[in-house]
Amino acid sequence: MTAYIFRRLLQAIPLVFGILTLVFVILQVAPGDPMAIYMHPSVAPEVLEQMRENYGLDQPVHIQYVRWLKSFLSGDLGTSLTQNRPIAAILAERIPNTLLLSGTSLLLIFAIGIAIGIVQAVRQHSKLDHALTLGALFIYSMPSFWLGLMLILILAYRVHWVEWWPEALKFPPSGMDSVNYDLLSTWGKFTDRLDHLVLPSIALGVSSAASVARYTRSSMLEVIRQDYIRTARAKGLPERTVILKHALKNALLPIITLLGLYLPFLFSGAVLVEVVFAWPGMGRAIYDAIQQRDYPTVMATTFVFAVMVVIANLIADILYAVVDPRIRYERERR
């Protein structure tokens, strides 16, 4: 097992290099002078030259590349042009927020997706099954940012006009916490944060949940047909136990691989959803940086996003190997 994890880690290294190189190439190919934002009639050309030298922009490309690699690998992501502080510090504030949002979404995706998938598989070809398939098709085809806006419109504003609507189902339209957040008790803080999480995590996750449901359904249908399930039924186990204990375990195996597959997708969606809900995460950071033409921040955030995907894939692969001994064995022999 250790050998497998180790090998998998080794495979990730060239990937990180590839990502760094690609980001560097994009920066080099892009038109425009990185010094352009400092150009101003009141700034002397000598000062610009000096700054160019300070940033190492007068060096040949390959030296710039090596420097870039060195600084990124040592955790120095450069300085934000607009906030005048290290990008690493800015991102350190933002990453937990994005992880919180996508983590909640991920939980939601798998909980809802698997539950619906099981129901569909157990009641295959029923009216309920068809209705859920149709619903999933529509949800799967929805842009997350639009769904977010609709959720805000209905569940944060319109419901206030409805008298009988329960207070607990009215949600805040944006932000991460209420104005009085700092004054709340620990429990109050927790529920307040949770309240703010509901709409964005639904907007972000619901389309992936639809596709998890689809995968669970087909994987469950495959498992249910197998002999050991018939055996379990034959020895008189209640249907509930057969499905939830015997079938589900094996049906869930392939679903774990989806975890790694959805993360890049989820992060993409996070950019849009964070903009819609004014959620102060990395997606919001990269959007603001683009609006302000703060390119070093844009590039660093892109890099961090990609590295997070690599790490997530690593975790998903290792999880898969832990759960399914066959994979471990096969891959170790190769």
């Binding site: 990937l15 529509f138 085809s141 929805m142 903009v275 990269i286 844009v298």
Partner: protein, 379 residues
């Protein structure tokens, strides 16, 4: 087919001239008949209700009016021509003589959701091409005093209301379809062509070539798509051209992976061995013998990718990184409405619905194609 010579033929001709699809309906071919009737009636409706718009084609002289005019003519011609010729002497081909594509089409035809998707798609493209005839407003022109026409709720005059500048939302969605659909189409074209080529080369040659190309693909796939896209597009000033090219150049890796997987197994087959034994060069083997055999999965990936790209483009233009402002696109209409979401819900809601229906129809077609083109599922 039936011996409909002389008298019968003349009767059918006159029935077809009266209304295309009528002879098909009389013969019991309901699907062909109904679709022809629908096509003919909708074209006639456009001609009758939008008659002054059609006449305006000759005075305005804008290219989109001419495109709409040609579409109208082509639609009418197709309806009547098909009305006469459809279902005559065909559909009698035995299974032995049918090509692979004909078999796939027959499978596809039986799939009702997929056919629904196909009809939706055809309707969507017709509407897009006919846009100037379907509305009496212009997408980016403010007609009246802005304070009187802004944020009007949906009504008979403005089917989907007006936005903060008093522009008709329905008109903007019609014209926006053009941007969303054509960007999607071209970008999918680029990414499919590139992905197929890279995948085929990678799978066919194997070894170092494969390793290098696939590591590159892995790297590209590690970036969250939208993040990579907004980064690159932001660096090169957003314009429609940049968006199309960048979308095309960043979305090919998944196709490359699919194609490579297929080619890996094709490579070992006898007919490739035979081609090699004949002394054919690698480019010829790849282009003439390998690529035609992976077209099935590629077409499926393209249709599903089309829906996906429309979603991504909508996201980009929502962030202001696609077609620049006065030009409507579904994403930026939603952005326009976002500020006044509560006061004027219609501005953001309707373009979103347009996106959902478009993507649903592409997904339905894609699923249908997958079932039709995969012989393993056919047994």
């Amino acid at each position: 087919m039936s011996a409909s010579g002389g008298n019968g033929s003349r009767k059918r001709l006159s029935a077809a001239a009266l209304l295309p699809g009528l002879p098909q309906l009389l013969r019991g071919q309901r699907r062909a008949g109904l679709s022809l009737v629908a096509l003919a009636l909708s074209m006639l409706a456009v001609l009758v209700f939008g008659f002054d718009r059609v006449l305006a084609t000759f005075t305005v002289g804008r290219i989109d009016y001419w495109v709409a005019f040609l579409t109208l003519l082509a639609g009418l011609a197709a309806a009547w021509w098909l009305g006469v010729s459809w279902g005559r002497g065909s559909s009698e081909d035995s299974a032995a003589g049918a090509s692979q594509w004909a078999i796939a089409w027959r499978e596809f035809e039986k799939n009702r959701p997929a056919m629904l998707g196909l009809y939706l798609m055809v309707a969507l493209y017709l509407v897009t091409l006919l846009a100037p005839y379907l509305t009496s407003y212009e997408p980016s022109v403010i007609v009246d005093d802005i304070m009187r026409v802004r944020h009007l709720a949906p009504s008979q005059d403005h089917l989907m209301g007006t936005d903060k500048y008093g522009r008709d939302v329905y008109t903007r969605i019609l014209y926006g379809a053009r941007i969303s659909l054509s960007i999607g189409f071209i970008a999918v074209g680029i990414s499919i062509a590139l992905g197929t080529l890279v995948g085929a080369v990678s799978g066919y040659f194997g070894g170092v070539v494969d390793a290098v190309l696939m590591r590159f693909v892995d790297t590209l796939i590690s970036f969250p798509r939208l993040v990579l896209l907004i980064t690159v597009i932001a660096l090169f000033q957003p314009s429609i051209l940049v968006v199309v090219v960048v979308l095309g150049l960043t979305l090919w890796p998944s196709t490359a992976r699919i194609v490579r997987g297929e080619v890996l197994s094709l490579r070992e087959r006898e007919f490739i061995e035979a081609a090699r034994a004949l002394g054919l060069g690698s480019p010829r083997i790849i282009l003439r013998h390998i690529i035609p055999n992976v077209l099935g999965p590629v077409i499926v990936a393209a249709t599903l990718g089309l829906g996906n790209i429309i979603l991504i483009e909508a996201g980009l233009s929502f962030l202001g990184l696609s077609a620049p402002p006065p030009t409507p696109s579904w994403g930026n209409i939603i952005t326009d409405g976002r500020e006044y979401l509560v006061e004027a819900w219609w501005v953001s809601t309707f373009p979103g619905l347009a996106i959902v229906f478009t993507v649903v129809s592409f997904n339905l077609i894609g699923d249908g194609l997958r079932d039709a083109l995969d012989p393993r599922l056919r047994v």
